[in-house]
Symmetry: C2
Subunit: 308 residues, 2 copies
Amino acid sequence: MITILSGGVGGARFAEGVVAAAGDEVVVIVNTADDEEFYGLHVSPDVDTVLYTLAGLGDWDRGWGINGDSFKCNEMLGRLGLENWFKIGDTDLAMSLYRTMMLRRGLRLTEIVEEARRALGVGARILPMSDDRVRTIVKTDAGPLPFQDYFVKHRCEPKVVDVVFEGIESARPSREVLEALRSADLIIIAPSNPVVSIGPILSLQGVRDLLKHAKATRLAVSPIIGGRTVKGPADKMLIAFGIEPTAYGVYSVYSEIIDIMVLDNTDSEIAVKIEGKGKRCLVTDILMRSREDAVRLARTVLEQAGRL
Amino acid sequence: MITILSGGVGGARFAEGVVAAAGDEVVVIVNTADDEEFYGLHVSPDVDTVLYTLAGLGDWDRGWGINGDSFKCNEMLGRLGLENWFKIGDTDLAMSLYRTMMLRRGLRLTEIVEEARRALGVGARILPMSDDRVRTIVKTDAGPLPFQDYFVKHRCEPKVVDVVFEGIESARPSREVLEALRSADLIIIAPSNPVVSIGPILSLQGVRDLLKHAKATRLAVSPIIGGRTVKGPADKMLIAFGIEPTAYGVYSVYSEIIDIMVLDNTDSEIAVKIEGKGKRCLVTDILMRSREDAVRLARTVLEQAGRL
């Protein structure tokens, strides 16, 4: 079994590639620290991005939401005088309504996503990292901002000073997450933001230790190419933590919990440096411009891990 | 001030005519006993029909929802495995999200609708009949059905045995409703279902008495023409109560609380009968096929009441 740790866009694209290359024996553990309440609904941006992408409903170019979706409800919320900067499409909204209803009925987030992925015909399993509430707060020069405020409303413009995960001390990874890490023979950290996407998953009690001592082969794919983030604010966040915003910086975050670091051809010099530290590297074209790119990258990674 | 008692479609169309004819010094008191929870949201079908109609957003032919709306969210709810026979359009959904959010924040239904009608540029006031929960249950040969189940899911097909308004004993008309009835110089019962639309309003503590002793001129427009309901199940419901499903039956429900009964030309014989009982009648073309019809009907009614 292949277990992937993922945030939103980058992780979702990569997971789609892995499923296309290796079939449905895949579990994707997804960050939920970006979850937020909007319009009275529990919104799980990363989980839904993975869900829609694996269901073939995603919008590849935009990276979030549903392909061809409209925003009529969102516009009307604006007409009614509500802040509506968080755009949820009309089809997309159904998932948040469904999740909110089911949470109120007492189901766990994990059970709700399991029902939804089956209903949408997704073969791979998608696991929210936890059924407990964790909330990423980005501390900035404009004050502390919940992640979606920083990311969507403020377009990552305020300078990042620190990032904290509210609730992380008491949150537990679900039993399904622990089982997926224990039973995997390959664990891949997707090219997601190491700070706000993978960070919360690794910060859940016991997860980093499980990875450290896992029998599985463990890989991480860099979300940074040539010193630039493919999408999102990973570089700014690494800088705030005093980590260089390069594939080497990403490697330094994961060095104790991976066997193989996957980097872009552009970063072959960094690969030499990492190999000098005794860590195996896979250097290939890691930019996913299309579904085909994602499948090709997944195949290369899986071959390297001896899985194809 | 003109105060209208209204249900959904028929009342909304008539209210639009009155506002067009008389201006914004109009208050529409709207039935909320058809309110229901769908998809975790508080849905107020009659209030929203009046709101959208007066905002110029309504769908005249369909009679509910918003003109040109799409149903993407509703379709996705179905894909996720939920019963989705209650169709809420994507734009329409925003109002139910808004109402549900604001109710959770502790606002009264009355305050929420007041905010919404201002936001949508509606000059006339729209008052939910009560801020308390009343729920119409239609007792049928297929068992007791909440109104929307009977009306939408079962398309009014089961035989009506009885109709009860759960919660009506403890529900209070809002202070705004009482004020609108006390200060009106003209009270019009719109051509709405006398049993399930106007019935709950009149059943609220003190309302029937206020109408009975009002100084205002009081009119009722028949929702039944030539022994047939224009829209909806009013005829079936009157029969269940042993009342003949004609304009005369409607008159008999209102006889103690109105000064003038408004009937269709088709029912001129019934008008003669009602006048024989000493009640004034206005006989005109009461069918509203278009906005123009509604305005013409409103003008005729207002002229008769000495208001134009």
